[in-house]
């Protein structure tokens, strides 16, 4: 199969309009005859499900939590970008497009990235209309803040709970369509496989997590909106239930996986403090607007932060990147922290952290202003660590946070399987090799609200006259029995090690070899290690309880089995890319100053992987830059 991104004709700023003007439509009477499955109820999933239902389609929407409102979009703190130029500081669609493309180190498509910027302003209008209480100024106008990697203020926010407020708005709209009986919500249902008939996506097999029942669901198209898979590292800022299972199963059925190893490591999470730790809590990047990051100049300095005089502090981001300083993009800030920590300047209990200090900001702006801006983050910090950050600097540390990689999709957000779409964080679309802060709530939302509802018609128009297989079609029976067999197989191992024990082992390998910095020998070793983990898992994992009941241990085991396989692909991908770009830093490819050395001659493509019976075949989607010349991504 060839990779056709289906980029529309015309000038960059006309492409989306041209697409809309020429794609197939379906009349309202016919939309009622079509069924769509949406897997996920985050901003991408809930936005898509509600909007498709408003258009008249019949939608079934799935989530593994007990309520759609809990999708992990809820945890986003900092904000959402839009090129509104309300601050009159020189922002524009073009600048946002450029910032995003450059932020991603020129590893995404111009057309997609431009569309992201173009649709950002109407999205804010949409959320305001839906009742999102965005921060406002006294005059009643909307307030903005700045995020890493940009020099304008284009980030909209609702205190430190932007994701929560957006996802609750999406959940409200979804609830409206549930009441209207256009959406059937299947909470506590985990999708365990995709069903293809004659090569097209026609449904899913899901497990009812409350009862263990395995069910078949039929549709005319399937949309995956299952979020990020960074929990492959175990310790991450993702929710404990976040998984890569649905996209992994889709991959094994033929959907191509793009840039799986591109993972964003966030610079400002709370450091790990114990071995039993189950997740890492993010402290919003917005804190870097006013907080200053430093470590002691002296190695292994045992003094308390307050006892270290100003001249003995190394504000290393301000030193290395004077024009962006503490707001350097995430990949750069994380790597700089790792460099200092590895060089022996780390602070905190396990010497695995750096300071984020508000002393100067409080002196300059007053405690009240800081409290108003970040009060809930300071409270959260105190709840977790017992430390009052108004008086002592926070300790922060890098953590796995976001998957730029995901299922390969074309301009219409369709995967390489006809009728199977991937939207939100689970696809590879606009962020390239590094995502800018506050661009993800944006991407997931516009995928769900604005893009998919305009592109899915183009495919469905062709399905109107097609046969509609029932749930008793042999292919459904076959996939269902494969799912049952897999569950049976996992339960029958009944070995000696817990699922979490395997997950910790996998996480360690991935964190050491496939996170902030990578090298050939390490990745080769990691692949061997992960294959061993896989063999050992299937010989020695132990899950108690039954298949036909609520069984949280079984849920974890099924997710981990997929993570283990995905991890092998991630390392394979990182090994293949003999360059450094964005979050992908290969130690062999760096400048004398330790900055990433990109290689556009050989790697100006997206690595797209096809599953091939346990092995992976590489395809290349070459990126053409017509409007912007890739430059060295410098934040100096």
């Amino acid at each position: 199969m060839t990779l056709d991104a289906k980029i529309p004709e015309g000038k960059l700023e006309d492409k989306w309009k041209n697409y809309q003007a020429t794609s197939n439509l379906i009349n309202p009477a016919n939309r009622k005859k079509l069924n769509i499955i949406v897997v996920g109820s985050g901003l991408a999933g809930a936005g898509a499900a509600a909007t498709l239902a408003e258009l008249g389609y019949n939608v079934q929407c799935f989530c593994y939590q007990d309520s759609a409102r809990r999708a992990h979009s809820v945890a986003a703190q900092g904000g959402i970008n839009a090129a509104k130029n309300y601050q009159h500081d020189g922002d524009s669609v073009w600048r946002m497009f450029y910032d995003t493309l450059k932020g991603g180190d020129f590893r995404s498509r111009e057309a997609n990235t431009y569309r992201l910027a173009e649709l950002s302003a109407p999205l804010i209008d949409h959320f305001v209309q839906q009742g999102v209480p965005f921060a406002r100024e006294y005059g009643g106008v909307l307030e903005n803040r700045s995020f890493g990697g940009v020099q304008v203020k284009r980030t909209f926010y609702a205190r430190g709970q932007t994701g929560q407020q957006l996802v609750l708005a999406a959940y409200s709209q979804l609830s409206k369509m549930i009441r209207a009986k256009k959406v059937e919500m299947l909470a506590r249902h985990e999708v365990l496989d995709i069903v293809l008939i004659e090569g097209k996506a026609k449904g899913v097999i899901a497990r009812d997590l409350a009862t263990g029942e395995i069910k078949r669901f039929v549709a005319d198209a399937v949309v995956l909106a299952t979020g990020g898979y960074s929990r492959v590292f175990r310790l991450s800022t993702l929710a404990v239930g976040c998984n890569g299972s649905a996209i992994w199963k889709a991959h094994k059925k033929g959907a191509y996986f793009a840039a799986p190893s591109f993972t964003q490591i966030h610079p400002t999470a709370l450091p790990q403090t114990s071995k039993a730790q189950s997740k890492l809590t993010l402290m919003s990047e917005s804190l870097r607007n006013d907080g200053r990051i430093w470590v002691p100049k002296r190695k292994d300095d045992g003094r308390k932060a307050k006892d270290i005089p100003e001249e003995e502090r190394d504000y290393y981001l301000e030193r290395r990147y004077p024009s962006f300083g503490n707001l350097a993009p995430r990949d750069i800030a994380s790597r700089a922290a790792k460099e200092r920590i590895d060089a022996g300047h780390g602070v905190g209990q396990l010497k695995n952290a750096v300071y984020l200090d508000f002393k100067h900001a409080i002196e300059r702006l007053g405690k009240d202003t800081i409290e108003e801006r970040y009060g809930n983050l300071f409270n959260m910090y105190e709840k977790i660590t017992g430390i009052d950050a108004y008086h002592e600097p926070m300790t922060i540390s890098p953590a796995a946070h976001f998957s730029m990689g995901g299922l390969w999709v074309d301009y219409e957000l369709m995967t390489s399987i006809p009728g199977l779409y991937a939207i939100g964080e689970c696809n590879y679309s606009d962020h390239g090799a590094n995502r800018l802060g506050a661009n993800s709530l944006l991407q997931t939302s516009i995928d769900g609200y604005f893009i998919l509802p305009n592109t899915i018609n183009n495919y469905l128009a062709g399905e109107l006259g097609a046969k509609h297989p029932g749930a008793d079609h042999p292919e459904f029976m076959k996939v269902e029995s494969e799912v049952r067999d897999l569950i049976k197989k996992i339960l029958e191992v009944y070995g000696h090690r817990t699922v979490d024990d395997f997950h910790r082992e996998l996480g360690k390998v991935m964190w050491h070899e496939c996170a902030m910095s990578r090298n050939k020998a390490g990745l080769e070793k990691a692949i061997v290690q992960i294959k061993n983990i896989k063999t050992e898992f299937w010989k020695n994992v132990k899950v108690t309880g039954q298949a036909n009941e609520m069984n949280t241990e079984l849920e974890k085991a099924l997710r981990l089995a997929d993570f283990i396989e995905l991890a092998i692909l991630m390392c394979t991908d990182a090994l293949q890319r003999d360059e450094s770009c964005g979050a992908h830093f290969r130690e062999e490819y760096q400048t004398n100053e330790g900055e990433a050395l990109r290689n556009d001659d050989d790697f100006a493509y997206v690595s797209v992987w096809e599953y091939n019976k346990g092995d992976f075949k590489l395809h290349k989607e070459f990126l053409e830059f017509e409007y912007v010349q890739p430059t060295v991504r410098s934040y100096k």
């Binding site: 809990r70 804010i124 209008d125 009742g131 005059g139 106008v141 404990v240 604005f450 979490d500 609520m550």
Partner: protein, 247 residues
């Protein structure tokens, strides 16, 4: 550190539940309460027992998925936090910790510590939205909203839907939850056109779901992780009268 957990076990809604005692060692003060339960579950697996079913997802106090009764209090010994934000440093070595699910007729038990809170979803479905389709929004600046109104809306919009208010209330009332959503939307200009029907429909659904009535004990506001004040209920009641008169 070592503690003794007395944990509610119940296979499913149709059978009787009971407390079971577990002596757990190897904990540290830095562990979160849920990590202590994870640890206990791992030891149960290794001695061939079924794990204790409990819920959590974000583990940072925002998704509202976690929530158990700990030593007689919703979300444990502190005010205004979720179960996942509780750390073992809040307990002493050797403590006995009693853990139960939320108890309310409207929240039937699914298994062990897991309850069914879908009644909350059904209340939301009865009008906790603004009826406007995607694609119909006017320019955001077309609706100026004063900072004060916006902040007040945000105060109540912060509800995480965990159900602690219901669990903490001796009447198992859902008034705090319902009022928070109503006051969020009815306060904003965008929510005005549907204010009365929204309020009446949501309150009617709340009553249908077998939640008890509010007698203003204020037990809910003490536990609410989003610190929503009981004033929200008073405000809802005032709006209710208005809706009945003019709605």
């Amino acid at each position: 550190m070592n503690v003794i957990f007395k944990i509610w076990r119940q296979e499913h809604a149709a059978v009787e539940g009971y407390f079971k005692t577990y002596e757990v060692d190897g904990l540290t003060e830095d562990m979160s309460f849920l990590e202590a339960l994870d640890h206990l579950n791992e030891t149960l697996v290794l001695i061939n027992e079924k794990v204790i079913a409990f819920e959590s997802d974000c583990r940072e106090g925002i998704c509202g998925q976690c929530g158990v009764f700990i030593n007689g209090r919703a979300h444990g010994p502190h005010q205004h936090i979720t179960t996942c934000q509780l750390h073992m440093r809040s307990f002493k070595d050797g403590d006995t910790i009693v853990v139960e699910p939320w108890r309310a007729e409207a929240f039937p038990i699914v298994k062990d510590l897991v309850v069914d809170r879908s009644a909350f979803d059904r209340i939301i479905q009865q009008g906790a939205y603004i009826t406007a389709k995607t694609g119909t929004a006017p320019e955001a600046y077309a609706i100026p909203i004063s900072k004060e109104i916006s902040e007040r809306a945000m105060d109540v919009a912060a509800c995480i839907g965990c159900g602690a208010c219901v669990a903490a209330c001796k009447n198992a009332s859902a008034a705090l939850f319902t009022s928070a959503k109503i006051n969020h939307l009815n306060q904003l200009p965008q929510g005005r056109p549907e204010e009365h029907s929204r309020l009446l429909d949501m309150v009617a659904q709340m009553e249908l779901e077998n939640f008890g009535s509010c007698t203003f004990t204020a037990a809910c506001e003490v536990e609410c992780p989003a610190e929503i004040s009981i004033n929200s209920i008073a405000e809802m009641n005032a709006r209710y009268i208005k809706a009945k008169l003019f709605g």
